[in-house]
């Protein structure tokens, strides 16, 4: 029995550790490091960010640069910090603010969106994302949706919802196992098992609804008046232009071109991939 428990613990802990490692190194999935994105956002200028002695000193240095109006330097430092802590919503938020001040609305929206994905109930993150989106002609809360409902729907992040769903699933299955094996405990277990099943269905449904409500692959336009063409090449005509900062759905990739869709307008087309920043 002890050996079974030890094996179970090993199986649980190893994926957790792997998950933590994966969370700490998402660069491959994003096609570049957060620092690279920050630097790319401020291309054409040398970002000679100093090497602070530690994260605390770096936070302080970045805040000082931000306060002094040196937003490019602040963005560079936040980008470096994100290399080590890519799932830190505060860092994404700060980087977004620095980029916004530097005039890079599209890239700032991408960072705010990442921060929102990680910590949607943070009021500052929500406010700044809504503020920046408004600049791009988009509302965070879709027209016709009550703000309170939207706030409730996005109270938990996708990962938190996934965690709650799986916790409820584990609890349900373990209680059900006990229910099957220990007849004497059944009267006690019935309400707990029913509650666990209800939680599983609730969080599973919420998680599923969130996944359905959002595109599987998203991106933000990072170029002013980006041209969307009817095909993947310069030889195709420009169908329409999209303002910087608009969130779009990624439908496919063909070489240097990415097929994007705008659900609100019901249109789609091809755009140079360098005009987008993908959010995963």
């Amino acid at each position: 029995m002890n050996r079974v428990l030890a094996l179970a613990a090993l199986l649980i802990l190893r994926p957790l550790a792997a998950g933590a490692q994966e969370a700490a190194a998402p660069d491959a999935a994003w096609g570049g490091s957060p620092r690279g994105r920050a630097s790319g956002a401020l291309s054409g200028e040398t970002l000679a960010a100093p090497e602070p002695s530690g994260p605390v000193a770096a936070w302080s240095l970045a805040a000082k640069a931000y306060d002094a109006g040196d937003y490019k330097r602040a963005a560079a430092i936040y980008g470096r910090l994100l290399d080590d802590d890519p799932n830190n919503a505060s860092l994404h938020y700060n980087l977004g603010s620095a980029l916004f001040r530097a005039g890079k609305v599209g890239r700032s929206i991408a960072q705010y969106q990442r921060a929102f994905d990680i910590m949607p109930r943070d009021p500052d993150i929500r406010y700044n994302l809504a503020f920046a989106l408004k600049r791009a002609g988009e509302d965070l809360v879709p027209v016709g949706v009550p703000p309170l409902l939207h706030r409730a729907f996005y109270w938990l992040s996708d990962r938190e919802l996934a965690g709650l769903h799986w916790l409820a699933c584990w609890t349900t299955l373990l209680l059900a196992s006990l229910f099957l094996l220990r007849e004497s405990l059944r009267p006690v277990l019935i309400p707990w098992t029913a509650g666990a099943i209800a939680s599983w269905l609730f969080f599973g449904g919420w998680w599923g609804a969130r996944r359905l409500a959002e595109p599987s692959e998203r991106a933000v336009i990072v170029q002013s008046a980006a041209e969307i063409r009817s095909g993947p090449g310069e030889n195709y005509s420009v169908s329409f232009t999209v303002p910087e900062g608009r969130r779009v759905e990624v439908l496919g990739v063909n070489g240097q071109w990415t097929e994007t869709g705008l659900a609100k307008e019901g249109v789609k087309g091809w755009i140079l991939s360098e005009s987008l920043e993908r959010i995963e």
Partner: protein, 612 residues
């Protein structure tokens, strides 16, 4: 468009966006000669990227040729609007008065129609100034549609020419390429055109296709012309490859009506007198001249042509903190698509946000022109009399061969202070005690990393992919165990049968432990083990089982059991009875061990042989 223009604007159903969709139909002229053409433009516009196609009525009195369509979409403040202009060339086939029927459009189930457009077709002789007769499938005059009388015998029937309006042009200056297809003989079908390959140019089509008649080396030809605006993208020698036209022409076969084989030749020409021709124009070279470096303004971004710039605001008397829309329009002749952004000058008294641009293109008279509109939001930070300084736009004028800097006039604003006439764009307390928002801005950065705790734990749980299978596994095992237990509980005889050997071994082990100290008790346990084993296996009560009954049942349940096994049961039974009831004697311990070994071997064999 010149000439009579009939404009019809109809508003569709008031329901939904259909209420904002417009359809317009116009012609460039309403009075034409028989060999003239009419250009019909149908414009559909509305607040959506995808607009329905107009439906045309039957027009038997015209030959209708599509000359392409132009689709423009714009986004302003997240709202989309688009316009599709369909261009058609109509060649009349009748004399007198007629009409272009109503063109209809269906949106959301509602159909509307434009009014018919009246057309009068006059005889070419009656027209005061006859125009060259064009058709999409030209048929020259002359007997049998062949070479005109008096035309040179060596004149070619069909050919293609490509030319440009200038051989030297500055980088990004328009060069108009004209490709003409001439034919002096009837065509068997519509010719197919392949545009020339061009390197080092940005190209813009210049519709519609033109048609006409021209005399060349004493012979009358009809021609079709396609124009393209080219903009050299670089300096140096640039080339335009040959344009290709594939056409089917009637063979030039003369038929003598008095010849003996007249009918044979007449019909053979009708079915076999078609010849495929692939015609290519000569390549054309253009020299791209570099723009001069002398006098180039710092804000020059590559615009070449003639441009003007204008600026406007949507409110002249805002409050401090109010958003003011600043619209800067650059319009003129040149490559509008290549225009760079307008630089908004530094305005310390304003907070200036990003600029969003939209573009309109026009290609009248074969010149690419239009406008690019830059919209930005400026927020006055302070109250008082403020001014938006002149905004400049520099371009190179190829006709003057020099750079020109256009500029807007300063725009004056009178900004009222509102609740707080201070230069600090912050939220201040109004005299009424209520908060009054002066300006909007993003919130300040976070000074500490934050996050962690339960949220981090939940995220890690969500990421533990492999671990999710464990609870399912545990549940599956539990379910299997519960089902097995349920099965066993429902079959007590079977359970007794299956566990007989296990329980017998248990008793034998206990007997072995007792063999040294209490041989009789050990013998009793072994006897009990044997009797219970037989009882369990033979489905009989062990308490009342006699040796004879046990052997009978054994024979019935295990007919293939060897006779020596029956003997072994009998001997063992008797030996154990003897050990239990005979007075203790030396060597009982050894006998007990021997009996234990024998009983083990016996029940192992019986367990194998007795089937349920």
């Amino acid at each position: 468009m010149t000439g009579a223009t009939l404009l019809l604007a109809l508003v569709l159903s008031p329901a939904g966006w259909a209420a904002e969709v417009l359809i317009q139909a116009s012609v460039d002229k309403s009075v034409v000669t028989l060999n003239d053409q009419i250009v019909l433009e149908v414009s559909v516009s509305g607040p959506a990227a995808s607009l329905p196609e107009p439906k045309f009525p039957a027009m038997p009195n015209f030959s209708v040729y599509s000359s392409g369509k132009n689709h423009s979409i714009s986004f302003v403040n997240g709202k989309v609007s688009s316009t599709i202009v369909h261009t058609y060339v109509l060649v009349p086939r009748f004399l007198g008065k007629g009409e272009i029927g109503s063109i209809s459009l269906t949106v959301d189930g509602n159909t509307v129609k434009t009014d018919p457009i009246a057309i009068e077709v006059q005889s070419p002789n009656a027209a005061a100034a006859p125009t060259p007769g064009p058709t999409a499938a030209p048929r020259p005059k002359g007997p049998s549609g062949g070479r005109a009388p008096g035309a040179p015998a060596n004149a070619v029937d069909v050919f293609v020419m490509a030319d440009v309006d200038k051989k030297k042009a500055f980088v990004n200056e328009q060069v108009t390429l004209s490709v003409k297809f001439f034919t002096g003989v009837p065509l068997a079908g519509n010719p197919q055109y392949d545009a020339p390959k061009m390197s080092g140019f940005l190209a813009e089509d210049l519709p519609p296709e033109r048609h006409g008649e021209v005399s060349h080396r004493g012979r009358t030809y009809y021609y079709s012309e396609i124009k393209t605006a080219l903009f050299p993208a670089q300096a140096g020698r640039l080339s335009i490859g040959p344009a290709t036209v594939r056409a089917q022409v009637q063979r030039d076969v003369a038929i003598d009506p008095f010849a003996a084989d007249f009918f044979q030749r007449f019909f053979s020409q009708g079915f076999a007198g078609v010849e495929d021709r692939v015609l290519k124009s000569d390549p054309v070279g253009v020299t791209g001249e570099p723009l001069p470096t002398d006098g180039k303004p710092p804000d020059f971004s590559g615009a070449v042509g003639q441009f003007a710039i204008a600026a406007a605001i949507d409110r002249a008397n805002p409050k401090a903190g109010d958003a003011v829309n600043l619209t800067v329009t650059v319009q003129g002749t040149g490559n509008i698509k290549a225009l760079g952004d307008v630089k908004i000058p530094d305005m310390p008294s304003f907070r200036v946000y990003d600029t969003v641009s939209s573009m309109n293109l026009d290609k009248k008279n074969d010149l690419v022109r239009g406008s690019k509109v830059f919209r930005t939001v400026v927020v006055p930070k302070v109250s008082g009399a403020l001014s938006i300084p002149p905004i400049t736009f520099s371009y190179f004028d190829p006709s003057k061969r020099q750079y020109v800097q256009a500029s807007t006039l300063p725009i004056a604003l009178k900004v009222s202070g509102g609740p707080a006439e201070q230069p600090q764009p912050t939220t201040a307390a109004a005299p009424t005690g209520k908060l009054a928002a002066v300006s909007e801005d993003i919130r300040y950065i976070k000074t500490a990393p934050g996050q962690g705790g339960l949220a981090a734990l939940l995220e890690n749980v969500g990421l533990a992919d492999n671990a999710h299978s464990i609870p399912f596994l545990v549940f599956a095992v539990s379910l299997a165990m519960a089902m097995r237990r349920e099965h066993l509980t429902s079959d007590p005889k079977g359970q007794r049968f299956r566990s007989a050997l296990k329980r017998a071994h248990q008793r034998i082990r206990e007997a072995e432990h007792l063999a040294g100290q209490a041989p009789q008790a050990a013998a009793s346990l072994m006897s009990e083990a044997l009797l219970n084993f037989l009882g369990d296996k033979l489905d009989a009560a062990a308490s009342g089982l006699t040796q004879r009954r046990a052997l009978e049942l054994l024979k019935a349940k295990a007919p293939t059991l060897a006779p020596k096994s029956f003997d072994a049961v009998r001997d063992l039974w008797e030996q154990l009875d003897l050990m239990r009831f005979a007075p203790p004697a030396a060597g009982d311990s050894a006998k007990g061990s021997d009996a234990a070994a024998r009983i083990k071997a016996l029940i192992k064999e019986l367990d194998r042989e007795i089937k349920r």
